[in-house]
Symmetry: C2
Subunit: 278 residues, 2 copies
């Protein structure tokens, strides 16, 4: 059985970087889970003594706090520093960018429009950098902009994981509402790169394995994309679910993984596929 | 016969302003016709001794040159000044704005995209303010952008008379091509205001008269908009075409005029309608 990994899969650049930072800082705690994968959180605890706190009160019981890729609000960061904590910032650089843009544009008097989910930690962090909350609007589509007082100068950023097509619609609706509109393309391609690479591989593979949490929406998305190209497509969480029958009379097994799947789980899957397909 | 003028008609702000400037400057010449109306050009010549030149060579035979609403290229302006001419700038302020934007953004390293017709004098003027012609692109739709090297920072302006919907499409296509996009809404509403006002009046009038050159596209547009609401709708160039039969058993005559129609022609039409409809 030949095994081939998709050209892009699993952790994005920001998550890889955050985990490397965590591994180098034992006795610290991350503010919120670094990724949506309990096995990986557990590995960081057991192998590297990196804990996890979920709120400011718990954070204050640790000396060193790691900020995860989503970032945190400006106020929380201030509190941590005021309390004398050592803060290690693992905010994804692709998230630091919109934080800085929102702060700068807000200071320059632009009304801020943020395309994203107001309940998502990334957006709570990004929007906290606006200097004038009353002139900062978080929207999910162009309809949310109807009736909002925008003024003549508007700056717009997007949550890193949003779809470009939806961003284009929001921007188009803003063109006729502002004398000057500054559009920052803060959407990250990582999600789409994994999807494109999985689709490419599915077109030549005889069987595809997609690894990731059963509740992970980006993993489910990868699975449904591959399903378009071949029936023999399996969504698993780890190697224990692998069935030898999947590889009967097949020659190429393609593998991809969701954005929260660590490499060591992928390695275990590869090892197991090799064993059962001998 | 009751006569009612549309709430907005005829000359736009920029043209009215340019004509007032011309009337105050006898012995001058305009660089290109101030408006597309021979009667008005002739009136300026006869009543105010304002001439007309069509090229740099002819311009150099006059002491005072009036720049029309469209503006002129930076190079021509420089030549006129170098030759010691007194230059009176009647460029429409709505055109000066994109000229300044293109110059500033170009100096700041932005690639310039101009939505407009490269053969139109306004766009020739606006684009001449770019400091790097190789990084300045004039496009009529999003397809014209395909394959163009744009770089990460793009600034975009529009010809004042373009349709907002078409501008939105161009901007939408640029959102995903640049890290930072600066969109300046330089479209002027004057054309649309005349159209909206004519449509409103046509809905209550019994007969509509639209005054303007038979070849004037914006006058023809006004006429076709009014035709949607009533059949008794006439496109005339001046009062000589008015027929008394149009007003038989009618009570309200609505009047609008194209963007190149001077008020004195409109006044003559009103006078004639009153006479024949007594």
């Amino acid at each position: 059985m030949k095994i081939e990994l998709a050209k892009s899969y699993g952790f994005c650049y920001g998550v890889k970087r955050a985990i490397e930072i965590a591994e180098k800082n034992p006795k610290s705690a991350t503010f919120g889970p670094l990724i949506h994968n309990k096995d990986e959180i557990n590995r960081l605890k057991v192998n590297h003594n990196v804990g996890l706190v979920e709120n400011i009160e718990d954070a204050l019981t640790h000396d060193t706090i790691i900020i995860r890729t989503h970032g945190i609000t400006k106020e929380r960061l201030k509190t941590l520093k005021k309390e004398g904590k050592k803060v290690i910032n693992a905010t994804c650089p692709y998230v630091t960018t919109p934080q800085n843009i929102v702060e700068n544009m807000s200071k320059k008097g632009y009304t801020i429009v943020i395309f994203g989910d107001k309940n998502h930690p990334e957006i709570q962090g990004v929007s906290s950098y606006a200097t004038d909350p009353e002139r900062t609007h978080i929207v999910l589509d162009a309809n949310d902009l109807i009736g909002l007082p925008l003024g003549s100068k508007v700056a717009v950023v997007a949550q890193t994981t949003r779809k470009p097509e939806a961003y284009q619609k929001i921007v188009a609706s803003l063109v006729v509402r502002a004398a000057e509109l500054r559009v920052f393309n803060t959407i990250c391609n990582a999600t789409f790169e994994n999807q494109d690479a999985a689709a490419e591989l599915a077109q030549k593979a005889d069987v595809m394995i997609i690894i990731g949490g059963k509740n992970s929406s980006n993993t489910k998305q990868l699975h449904s994309i591959c399903k378009k190209y071949l029936d023999n497509c399996y969504h698993i969480e780890n190697e224990s679910e692998i069935d030898a029958s999947w590889f009967k009379n097949k020659s190429l097994c393609g593998i991809s993984a969701g954005a929260s799947t660590p490499d060591w789980i992928i390695d275990n899957v590869i090892k197991r596929v090799k064993e059962v397909s001998k």
